[in-house]
């Protein structure tokens, strides 16, 4: 209850939560909310590049499709990528961190060295190279992002495991004969959950941002997907006259990532009071 009260007092975090919830709701009910859900694939060349109006609040794109509808429908793809990437990265990174932190030996050492190497290469470039090597598609983009993000989970879980390993309750568990996997998954893992949640929230923002870059460079979503990054890349030929074409999808990316970052920051303040942002 204390946690909830603390969180409720943090206005920026509440704002973040509200934005995230709004984006999730929009993504879930996208075909119902969007005024022209058929504009995913249908083009209306007579209506191309119309400025914002009552009928098309965000204007229309180069094929006459309603940008408002496409921004709403794009939330689905963005969230789907983010959830998949963070989920897969967690499934890979967390067990590796537990093993690397708990056991001594060549395997554990190797895990951590590989993690360090992955962290030494800038994530964006690694993701670009991987996405291209696996022939560009949405699936490759997701896999590439996962491969760049898992080390963050490994690092965090590793640090927590190392810290907990020497604590008294683990010694006690060992004395009564608990097995290694049992201690790791039933006793150490629950103690890492809060840091994992914080990292995952920030990771959602990261995944959406980098997925947009991939889409923008033509290595993610393919036309006619209503992808935010792809839309901005398509808009470049029609600037500056069709300013609405690039502006609204970009604002959608910004708001969504902002929401996840604010929420992540707020959660971190609760989980780790040492890093308290606003004393």
């Amino acid at each position: 209850m204390l946690v909830a009260r603390k969180f409720a007092a943090d206005r920026p975090a509440l704002l973040g939560l509200a934005v995230v919830l709004a984006v999730v709701l929009v993504a879930m009910f996208a075909p119902l909310i969007a005024p022209y859900p058929q504009d995913v694939s249908v083009s209306h060349l007579l209506l191309r590049l119309k400025p914002p109006s009552w009928a098309h609040p965000f204007g229309t794109d180069y094929l006459g499709r309603d940008i408002f509808s496409r921004v709403i429908l794009g939330a689905r793809g963005a969230l789907l990528i983010a959830v998949m990437v963070v989920g897969l990265a967690m499934l890979t990174g967390v067990p590796l961190g537990l093993i690397g932190g708990y056991y001594r030996g060549v395997a554990a050492e190797a895990i951590m060295r590989v993690t360090d190497v992955f962290l030494a290469v800038p994530q964006l470039i690694l993701a670009l190279a991987l996405a291209q090597l696996m022939t560009p598609s949405l699936t490759s983009a997701m896999l590439a992002l996962t491969l760049t993000y898992w080390p963050f989970f490994t690092r965090i879980v590793y640090a927590e495991t190392r810290r907990l390993k020497s604590s008294l309750f683990i010694d006690a568990l060992r004395c009564i004969g608990a097995s290694g996997p049992r201690i790791l998954f039933l006793h150490i893992l629950p103690n890492c959950v809060s840091s994992i949640i914080v990292r995952a929230t920030i990771g959602m923002g990261f995944a959406i941002l980098v997925a947009a870059v991939l889409g923008f460079l033509g290595m993610g979503a393919t036309p006619p997907d209503p992808d935010w990054g792809l839309a901005i890349s398509e808009s470049r030929q029609y600037l500056p006259d069709a300013w609405w074409f690039s502006t609204f999808p970009g604002l959608a990316i910004f708001l969504t990532v902002l929401g996840f970052n604010l929420l992540g920051d707020g959660l971190r303040d609760i989980v780790d009071p040492r890093l308290r942002r606003s004393r």
Binding site: I125, P240, N261
Partner: protein, 336 residues
């Protein structure tokens, strides 16, 4: 101190070796058939076999890896399939452009970020602080490529205040190379018109690139100053009648920037990665632009060389940051 330096440098060797292994695997193992990828879509099986032999792809992996290491040691990355010139030459000609851009962005981030963070901390929980908080979270959440395009749209296309792309206007010749930085070379050549033109071209890309760093530096400075303000010596100086302005900008700030130095080091690696996007949008002739071209045309030699280069820069900067820390705080030397 010498032992500390040596140990820190030695510690970097395993990660550099790991980088070699990683890049090797990326290029040779991840693609299903690298020879087929190199030969192109319409290659016949015999052409593919020829390429496989030519590149040594038919030999065992460990032999390929040894050959690869030897090549890297000689800076021999082969010829780019895109520009048909040696990759090492291409990179050496493009690196100064990227460095000029990233260093300018970093300076911008530091020069604006530290005062912003300090002002926010001094006005803790009042409007400058709240404003900074919004800006610093927002600065990290903005997609750089989108921000760049919006800037282009407003300041280059709409208002026509600044050039849209490139490093110099097309009717001007680059100054003779001394440092490779146009801003410095043009001044050395006494060409003030070139300097102004280069500076005007630098504004939009540098501003875009500095955004994330600015947010981070401001945030860490704010946290550092807030912490220092709690210290006893501050109350003491205040009691001694040191004017508030001098107290903050001379004593408090000096004690607060240590944490920011780590961030600045980490940022530099991030800036080089960010240059990939920014250079693509502003047609900036640096290694970021080159990397994207290489990735889009599946020019694997360039991808390899650039990934290695950036990894090495990243590692080197991290060593440098640790050394600076060791200089400032001798206790840290013992921990290594």
């Amino acid at each position: 101190m010498l032992r500390f330096v040596l140990r820190r440098v030695l510690l970097a060797i395993p990660s550099l070796f790991g980088l070699l292994v990683l890049t090797f695997f990326l290029i040779r193992v991840v693609p299903a058939d690298p020879a087929a990828a190199l030969a192109g879509e319409n290659a016949t099986p015999s052409q593919i076999a020829e390429i496989r032999r030519q590149y040594g792809l038919d030999r065992p992996l460990y032999v390929q890896f040894a050959v690869y290491c030897a090549q890297v040691a000689r800076f021999d990355f082969g010829e780019s399939a895109y520009s048909h010139r040696p990759v090492a030459l291409d990179i050496s000609q493009r690196l100064p452009a990227t460095l000029e851009l990233t260093v300018t962005a970093l300076v911008l981030a530091i020069v604006l970020g530290i005062p912003l963070g300090t002002v926010a901390a001094v006005h803790h929980n009042r409007w400058p602080d709240i404003l900074l908080r919004v800006l610093s979270v927002g600065g990290v959440a903005i997609a750089a490529f989108w921000f760049a395009i919006e800037l282009q749209m407003i300041f280059a296309m709409g208002l026509d205040w600044l050039p849209l792309r490139g490093r110099l206007s097309t009717d001007l010749a680059a100054p003779s190379t001394v440092t490779g930085f146009y801003l410095i070379d043009s001044l050395l050549a006494g060409r003030f018109d070139l300097f102004v033109d280069a500076a005007r071209h630098l504004v939009l890309p540098a501003v875009t690139l500095s955004l994330g760093g600015l947010a981070t530096i401001a945030r860490f400075t704010r946290a550092g100053v807030l912490e220092t303000l709690q210290k006893d010596f501050v109350s003491y100086e205040r009691a001694q009648g040191v004017p508030a302005r001098a107290l903050i900008w001379k004593f408090v700030l000096k004690n607060s920037v240590v944490a920011s130095i780590t961030q600045i080091g980490l940022l530099f690696g991030g800036l080089i990665a960010g240059a990939v996007v920014v250079e693509t949008i502003f047609d900036w002739p640096g290694i970021g632009f080159y990397t994207v071209q290489a990735i889009l045309t599946a020019d694997y030699k360039v991808m390899l060389a650039v990934t290695l280069l950036i990894g090495v820069i990243y590692t080197a900067v991290n060593i440098l940051v640790d050394l600076v820390h060791g200089l400032i705080d001798p206790r840290l030397r013992e921990q290594l």
